[in-house]
């Protein structure tokens, strides 16, 4: 399903807080997550323990799913983090963090932790 991604700063899903006071587990728990409207969740046929795979021309990322009815249908919110930046890119020389087109699909693949992500980035 085609959707739009917005990266945002959230008090409860804040990378600065996690890097200062958390550990690699809490970092992944709170930042490798996406928020979407329950209507989209239903359309995607999401079931418990499934993750969401977002992919576009820039890359792909697998995230844990949380529903939030305040998010407009067709939009996914991602807290600003290294996970979110797996699918951001450069357009006309500028970084784009909002309204990023992605293909969203349910997956059984696991969410990577920060060390795995960095290993992949280094390659």
């Amino acid at each position: 399903m085609e959707m739009l991604v917005n990266t945002v700063r959230m008090v409860d899903n804040d990378q600065l807080k996690e890097f200062s006071f958390g550990d690699d587990i809490s970092l992944k728990e709170n930042l490798a997550v996406c928020f979407l409207n329950p209507i989209d969740s239903k359309k995607l046929d999401i079931t418990p323990n499934m993750n969401l795979k977002l992919s576009n021309e820039y890359g792909q990322v697998i995230l844990k799913i949380e529903e939030n009815k305040n998010i407009p249908v067709g939009t996914i919110l991602l807290p600003v983090s290294i996970w979110a930046n797996q699918i951001t890119g450069i357009v006309e020389g500028q970084l784009i963090f909002k309204n990023i087109k992605v293909h969203a699909e349910v997956t059984e693949e696991i969410v990577l932790d920060i060390k795995d992500l960095l290993r992949i980035i280094k390659k």
Binding site: T7, K17, F19, S20, L77, Q94, L95, I96, F97, N99
Partner: protein
């Protein structure tokens, strides 16, 4: 042990009404800070604080002495012909000044986080002009607050307390005469403060420019509003928005990342600034201004320091120890691999930049000056810990309304950790003495 009033560096609002109790060694109590502010003070004893210089050897970090970390850093810098310096939005203006001095000495390229945030508004304003305002002006005079793509309840938590719920000197009334309008595709936490007279506009994603163009067209004739509305906003709300914009005695538009980060071109920002100028030109009794909502506490500072030193607010390229013209940005420099080492100060580009840029950045030697763990700290070659400005060292910072605020030292840093300014000064000294030698 008495309480003292200090400035908080938790965000760009730089609240100067925080009361702390400290014996000079530890901060025992903090009063009046928001969640972000409290976290900032807690960072002093944060479990992931970087307390020793580190160097990467065979893939793992080893502790080294500060002198050795500086020597190794100087070695990297001396072997570099195209060094890149980035960050500088969570350090004092004095450290920003030293950063530019160092870049000039080593003929490098320097920029701050502002370049991908509020610096874009400054750049757009070069074409259009810009009417700014201050927090004091808003507290005392403003009757209309518009938050456009800005979720300030989470990004600048006390901004609403200070501006919306305050009672100004020049008004007999407070919140009851203030109207807020929030324009955002997402119903954010900021929507929670809205009352019956306020206007919540859940705009369709990416349609901000369509709304601005209609407002520009109709701003003085609210009788010809499109009957179907625009960008997901119905005609009634559009009419209410126009009436507020054109009748406010003193209004301010807070420009957030929702506007700044949503489009590659500056057209959206330019059209928004033009709308503000248009309203001001046609307003008989009122005034409209803008305020940029940057997150990092001294993001505005780098723009000021760079402007006063070089006449440019960012993208500073030096050659032959002189500033030269360049069309490069931090993005193009990294993307084109036009650098051979980087010095990152007080930021986390590996978390903030698209992974493709991060990959290029970490493929070259990276020196990190910072006080806490980050994604960048996992992959740096050398880490030099700095103390926490505004708590363990003083300095100057520019608030989000571009007002300079003096920061105080409250406690001594652990292990006598140096400030960013002192670390950068030591690098400059090291380079200068080797050049003399």
């Amino acid at each position: 042990m008495g309480g003292s009033r200090v400035t908080c560096t938790g965000c760009s609002l730089l609240c100067d009404d925080i009361i702390i109790r400290s014996d000079g060694l530890y901060i025992d109590e903090v009063y009046g800070a928001c969640l972000k502010g409290k976290e900032r003070f807690d960072q002093v004893t944060g479990k992931n604080r970087i307390l020793s210089p580190l160097i990467r050897k065979n893939g793992d970090f080893e502790k080294i002495k500060l002198e050795d970390a500086l020597d190794k850093s100087l070695e990297i810098i001396k072997n570099s012909s195209r060094p890149l310096l980035y960050g500088f939005s969570t350090v004092s203006c004095q450290a920003q000044l030293k950063g530019i001095e160092l870049t000039k000495l080593i003929n490098g390229f320097i920029d701050s986080n502002s370049t991908i945030c509020q610096g874009k508004v400054l750049n757009a304003s070069k074409q259009t002009g810009m009417t700014l305002t201050t927090i004091s002006e808003i507290i005392n005079k403003t009757d209309l607050l518009i938050f456009w793509g800005a979720n300030v309840a989470e990004s600048i938590p006390r901004l609403l307390n200070k501006t919306l719920f305050s009672r100004g000197k020049f008004r007999m009334t407070g919140r009851e005469i203030k109207t807020i309008i929030i324009i955002d595709p997402v119903k954010t936490a900021s929507f929670g403060v809205m009352g019956v007279r306020d206007i919540a506009l859940q705009i369709e994603p990416g349609k901000d420019i369509e709304l601005i163009r209609i407002l520009k067209e109709e701003c003085c004739s609210p009788n010809s509003i499109p009957s179907k509305g625009i960008a997901g906003i119905d005609s009634d709300d559009l009419r209410r928005l126009l009436i507020q914009l054109t009748n406010a005695e003193n209004g301010v538009i807070f420009i957030g990342q929702g506007v700044v980060g949503s489009s590659p071109s500056t057209a959206l920002l330019q059209e928004l600034l033009e709308l503000v100028q248009m309203i001001n030109a046609k307003q008989q009794k009122g005034r409209m201004a803008v305020m940029m909502v940057g997150g990092h506490y001294n993001m505005a500072g780098f723009d000021h320091v760079a402007l006063s030193m070089t006449g440019k607010n960012g993208n500073l390229q030096f050659s032959g120890n002189q500033l030269i013209e360049t069309s490069d940005t931090i993005i193009s420099k990294i993307n084109n691999n036009d650098f051979d080492c980087s010095i990152i100060v007080g930021t986390d580009p590996v978390s903030h930049l698209p992974w493709e840029l991060s990959r290029k950045l970490i493929s070259k030697p990276l020196i990190l000056i910072d006080n806490k763990k980050s994604a960048t700290s996992y992959v740096a070659n050398i880490i030099i810990p700095s103390n926490i400005t505004g708590i363990e060292s003083g300095g100057l910072a520019y608030r989000l309304d571009h007002v300079p605020v003096e920061l105080q030292k409250i406690v001594n840093p652990p292990n006598n950790i140096l400030s960013d300014e002192e670390i950068l000064s030591k690098l400059i000294e090291g380079l200068s003495s080797s050049q003399r030698g």
